[in-house]
Structure formats: C-alpha cells, structure tokens
C-alpha cells in the first residue's frame, strides 16, 4: 500500500487537512472521511452523475477523481445550499415541481443546476434539458426537473 499523502481541501467553505491514500476517491473522501453524505454514488464510472460536486466552481464527477487531485481546491456539495428550514430557491423549486422521487440522484442534479444557472440565469426548457442530460434519474422522467430548473431561475432572479 502506498504511503499516505497530505491534502488540504476546502469543502463548503471549511478547510480540511487530512492524510489520505493516493487512491482514495474524492467521493469517498467527501462521504466517509468528512461525513458529508449528501453526495451520492451510483455507478463509480463517472456516468450517472449522482456524485456531481463543484470543484473550483465547475461541476465534476467526484467518483472518478482521486482526492489528491483536489488538493488545494475548493469543493461545494449539496450541503452548501439551503437547510431544511431555509431551502435554496433551487431546492424549493424542486419540491414545488415534484422534481424528485427517491431523491438519490437529486444532490448531483442540484449541483449541476447550480453551475448551469450561474452561467445561464434565464434558460429555455431546451437548454435546461440539455444541462441535466448527463445526470441519470430513474424516477421522474426528467420533465419536472426541467421545469424546476426553469422555476429556480425565476426564483433566483427575484431574490
């Protein structure tokens, strides 16, 4: 087993300094080393998108990155959005539009949408659909997610 490596990673505004195995996946680091279990793992192939987080503002698949690759980076996970009593407009929109059922893929979709709406604050349905195309959802058929992303854009503009 290779020697452990020291990493400094800022997650949701908090700096963590940890010793990790070079092969430790970023998704496992976030979930199991830091206990931020809102980020989910669905395939470990970088395909389903459930593990999507923001790294330095860009969406990445945390299941196909090693933790050491995030050394010095700023990570944002679903826990950085709203709280149960005070949800982010995007989260409110997802509830209002019934854009989640089992909710397992949802954190990855929310983080994808955060980045997308940052660059496109007033998307068409087609653009919103294209934005979430890389995130698998088995429950919803996606239509309500598309509507929720558009509704979130309106809510965020009004804020």
């Amino acid at each position: 087993m290779a020697d452990k490596v020291n990493v400094k990673i800022t997650v949701n505004g908090k700096l963590y300094e940890r010793e990790v195995e070079p092969r430790l996946l970023l998704s496992d680091f976030i979930r199991h080393d830091l206990g931020l279990t809102g980020t989910h793992v669905g395939c470990e192939h970088g395909l389903c998108g459930a593990c999507t987080v923001l790294m330095n503002g860009e969406s990445v698949r945390s299941c196909i990155l090693f933790t050491v690759m995030a050394d010095g980076a700023e990570i944002r996970t679903v826990e950085s959005l709203g709280t149960m009593d005070n949800m982010h407009p995007l989260q409110e929109a997802f509830q209002e539009k019934h854009a989640l059922q089992c909710g397992f893929c949802t954190p990855g979709i929310l983080m994808t949408a955060v980045e997308f709406l940052d660059g496109n604050p007033n998307p068409t349905a087609e653009e919103a659909r294209e934005a979430i195309d890389g995130n698998f959802c088995r429950c919803t058929g996606y239509e309500n997610i598309v509507e929720a992303v558009q509704l979130a854009a309106k809510k965020m503009a009004a804020h």
Partner: protein, 782 residues
Amino acid sequence: MTESFISKSIKRNEDPRLLTGKSTFIDDINLPGMLHVAIKRSDYAHGRILSLDTSEAKKLPGVVAVYTAEDLGDYWHPGPLQVPPPTAIKGSVFYARPLECIAKDKVRYSGEPVAVVVAESRYIAEDALDYIYLDVEMLDYVGDLEKALEPGSALVHEDLESNLAADVVQEAGSWDKAVAEADHVIKKRLVVNRVAGAAIENRGIVAQWDDNMKILNCWATTQGPIPMRNSIAKYLGLLENQIRMMNPAIGGGFGPKIMSSQIDDVIVPWIAIKLGQPIKWFEDRRENFLGTTSERDQVHYSEIAVKNDGTVLGVKDVFYHNTGAYNPYGMTVPLNTQTHTVSNYNIPNFFTEIKMVFTNQMVVTPVRGAGRPQGVFVMERLMDAAAKRLGISPVEIRRKNVLQPEAFPFHTGIIGQDFVEGILDSGNYPAALEKTLEAIEYDKFKNEIQPKLRADGKHSGIGVILFTEGTAVGPYEGAKVMVGVSGKVNVVCAYSNQGQGHYTTFAQVAASQLGVKVTDVNVVIGDSGQWQWGVGAFASRGMTLVGTAIHQASVKVREKALNLASKLLNAPVEELELNDGVVRIADIPEQFISLGDLAMKANPTRGTVEEGMEPGLEAASYYGPPHGATGFGCLGMILDVDAETAMPKIARLVITDDCGTPVNPMIVDGQIHGGLQMGIGEAFFENLVYDEYGQMVTASFMDYLFPQASDMPDKFEVKHMVTPSPLNPLGIKGVGEAGAIGVPACYMQALEDALYEHDLDIRESSINPSKLFHYVKNAKSA
C-alpha cells in the same frame, strides 16, 4: 366537516430532507468498528467448482476473514422460495430451485457469488478479491430459451430431466372453437428483451449484533422488510423480535430490491454475529448488473383468430419465459403475462401456456411492469397484425373488441399472481381509448398532417394501444395510527418506500380523518421494531393496501377521540367537529379540547380504568383484498423517423390513465412519468445482452443505455379518468407500473406506420437504429 386532503396535490413531507442531503441512505450508515464486505463472483457462466483457493486473500493486511460455502457448514442451504408456486392451477408443474446464497458445487451464472471477503475497508476487501482463485470444469452454457428445452442440452440443474422450470396451461373458452369459427388465424413469433431495474442506488445491508441485548440491528434497502427479517430469523434460529429490520432512505427500487435469501441477507448478519462487529455490504454497479435480478426475456408463439368483420374470436399464446439460474420468485412474472394478455378486450377464447426455462443467466424477478408489458405487447402486436390482414385501421379493430363498461366486474377465467381468478373490478376502457384519440388528434393526423408529411418525404407515424395494470394484490398490509400527546399523529407500517411519496400520501389519508395538518403526521415505514406485519412494496399495492389500512385505523382513532371528547365536553358525538387538531362543539366553538390533551386523557391513571378499556388514541388495522384492483389506460404516440439514420424521435406522447381515486394527483403524474421513461428505455435504449459464452456484455452504463433527459419527449401529455375501485373505501387502484407497460407495443405500431412504405413487421419489443436498418433492408429484399 373535517378537511379532506384526498385528491390534493400536496407538496411532499420528505422533500426538504432529501433535497438538503440529510436523508440517510444505506451507504451513509457508519458504525464504530464497522467492517466491510466485498463479494467474489464467478467469471464463468456454467461450471463445476474444482477448487476455490482463498489462502492468499486471507494473508492480505487488513483482511479479517474470507468465507466460502464450505466455511458456512450446516448454515448453508438454498432458499427458501420467496414466492411459492401456484397451487390453484390444475395440472401446473413447477420445479422449485431456490437461490443458493453462495455457490457450493457448481456455478450457474456469471456473477454468482462464490466467496465473501471481510476487511477493514471496502478498498482492501476489493483488493482481496483478486487473490481468490476459482477453478472450474467448464460446462456448456445454456442461454437460448428454445434450445435449452431440446434433448441433449446441458442442464443447469443436473438433478432435473431438462431445463424446464415450470409449465402452466390456462384456457378460458376454447381456442379450438375459435379456430373453427374464424376466417383468419394469424401467427407471430414475438420476442421481448431483457432490462435492468437500474435504480440509481444499488442494494446494500448493514448488520450489527448487540450481544448484551441479543438483538440484531439490520438496515437494508429491501422492498420487503418483514419477509427479509423473517428469512434472517429462520436462517439464524432467532425469534423475529430479536431482529430489528429498518429501511433507511432507499434510492429507487423498481423490483430487484424485493429479493431476500441472497448472499447479502443470508451471509452479512451471520458474519456480524460471528465476528461481533458491525458489517456493511454495498453493491457496486457492476455487481448490480451481473448479480442482482432483472426481467422480461420471453419468446412468444402467438396466434389470433378473427372474423372478416374484425371480431376477435380467440388468442393462443405459448411462451418461453427465462427465469435464469434459479426460480425463487415462483411464477409471478409469467402469471402476470397471462393475466395481462387479453384483459382489455372481450375475447371469449384464450389459451395460454408458460414454459419457464432455467438458463445460465442472472435470476429473473419482477422489474417495474413485471410480466404485464409482455402480455400487452403480444396482444397489441396481434391486433395490429389482424388489422393489417383485414385492411382496417388499428383503431377500428380495437374499438370493435374493447371490453365494454357494462362488463364489469369482469371474470377473466385466468388465475393470476395472487392465485385467484383475475377479476377486473371496474373501468371504462372505450372512454380511455376515445379520450386518447381525441387528445392526440388521431383523425387529423391521419387525414391531414401525415399525408402532407409523406408528400414531403417525411416519415412520421402514429400508434395507439390499450393496457391494463393489475395492481393492489394481496395478501395483506397493516398499519397503526396513534395520536401523540403533542397532538401530532404517528403512522407506522411495514411497507417500504423507494420514492413513491408515502411519507406524504399516507399522511394525507390519516390527516383527512384526524383533522390535523399533513405536515403534522409522521410516517414510519419499514421499521420492524415499531410495526411488524406486512409484505412489501410490489405490484403497485402500497397506496391501496397500506392506505386502506391507515384509513381504517384512522377512522377507529377518530371514533375514539370523539367518544372521549363527548364525555369530557358533555356533548353528544353528533354535535362535535374535529378540525385544526381540536375537537369542538360545533355550535359552541369556545368549548373544545385538543387532540394532544385527548391523547393524554386516553392513557388512564389510577382509579379511572373502565372495563374493556383500550389505552391511547391508537388503533391498528389490516387490509387484504379478495383480489387485485385493475387500473387501465390508453397510450398514443407520434414518432418521427429520420430515414437516413433510422433514428426515431417521439414527437408526441399522450397517456390516459385511470388509477381510481388519485390520493395525490401530483405524485400520480410523477409515477406515470417515471414509468413512461422506463418504457421508452425498454423500447429503444435498454438491453441486457449475454454473449455466446454467457458473459454479460452490457454490465456498465457505458454499454447499457440508460434513458437520459434528451431521450425523452418534450412533454408527457397525461390525461386522467377516475373510476373508483369498488373494492376499498377510498376507491384507490395502483399506478406505479402504468407508464412502463404499454410503450414498446405503441412504439412499434407507430414505427411501422412511420415507415409504411416498407411494410415492416416488427416482432420484438426493443428496436434500435441498427435493427431498424436490417428490418428495412430485409423488407426491401422480400
């Protein structure tokens, strides 16, 4: 009047927790001292185990133990069957071969477990798998359903004479009579493909033995927590209440999470007790593809007998059903196929035969749809073929034969998965057909739009099919409803929730009787420490069975509350009303008592106990229907096909669905959307494919095409009808599988219409550009 929340689109109670990442899924559970399991699986599809060497794996630092079937000793035994074979069907044959939790002498499919590694981390456990050496004497792979039954085929179970796993014949009326009276008998060989449940969360289990209390705490992604608990108790020789089985949040189910007596629930609790440390196993995606369960995969030899005027006299369907290497789930799937073949139509003569076949493939158990799509596919393809032969439109032949509203309750004469005769409880099928035709503007499309498109060289086709959804089957479910001293309500049941919204819909049912807010009802699902009677989440039965049990229990609690309030307020029950969490005298609103105070008073103190007293504002109830309630609907689709690339695009998709009373219409629509997505996946994208050696070549999302957002139509046009079921007080029927059932049949009808000039005859439930190219090519050369 107490405010009713039934049929209201209420926002879900569970969403804030899920949306903020605060729900606990199975892999989020981490306990002190927890060890991790990885499973060594056979790379061979069929072979006799010659040796299994685990010695090197055991030496790896961090590995705690490695177990094989041999290490399990007397603890190892197959099964039991999760669903018994039907006893009600005369002459049926069923050779029970329940799952082996871990292969002992033979491996029967690629992906079958052969050893279990326990290690300090999942990483180390997976490392160790590479140091386990399995040597087998290779045996011929059995994969072709028809060849598997030919003499001389290799045998999956060598103690049987053939690979026939079951044979069930059912006949209503007389097929021979239909043939004798028919002007045409049309035959078709139809093939249904195989698809994965593919919930985004894989399966998992965590077990922790408390040696002081002698209690096994278990968390599992199971769709059937009580059956799984009972199975574990039987294996370990424990009393049921020594196992506390809990469902964490579950990331989708779709069928394959129903299974127990698999390696996870048989071995992981055993290891937890043996080692005295908590154990976690969380399946990865590759294992899910190789070693969980999946469904469809049937070959049908079907015939339809019709008269020149379009009257259908009879249908005959003899089909091969792949059960994989074992048949732990009994006959559920193919029986659903039998009951869903002719059910939309008035067809007096129906002969149906199941030939269930063992193969060297993963085990088949229900996946959303569960046998229903196959039956509907066969029937609708036959109807299309008959219409074509007679030169009438697909709509006309359906109009002519559709079951009429006055026929209900309709006795089908075919025994179903609940082992009683299928009885269609209520419905109006012609209305669903007409509503769909109107919404999709069928006549306008055929008469105005399509001719213009064709004149421009464009290929656009339309399909319209009917389907039924047998739902809400027995045996039973139960629930307990309790008002707490805070005035909030607790509902406990043993069902299982994978995203269907039960934390809200069950709350709506209780709140409608108890005069509280939906957000003030706390729903506990699948915690055997709190409630221990029930069966599980399958066959779209939660809302109907658990919902009815909750309704009945809530009615009792309401009565208890009103009777107690009547005493305390000195007013007759008829003069009381229950709303906003308080009971008031209707005419004297300042005289009231809160539900919380009533709950407090309902727990007697010394000297206040009356005879026959039952403490608490609490009641339990059970509901077991005589037979299932049958939802139904009609699906219409317009498909545009790019003739150059053979790529179809769904231009419009209209579904009319009737699931009786919709408790939460928003959630009903969500269920339909999700089902449609799976149906579209099945018709065009998803395929589990084995090669000629029994290796699955689609064991990742790189090769198994999961339907994505851009693969869906822009809009699902969902229309509703409400024909309440007479079987339960709220008139509910299930809806979970509705969307998934009809898509392949509708898709192929629309595709043939789009490519009309080639006169295609599509005989399989799943198409892709490459197959389509070959259909067109073959049609040209014919």
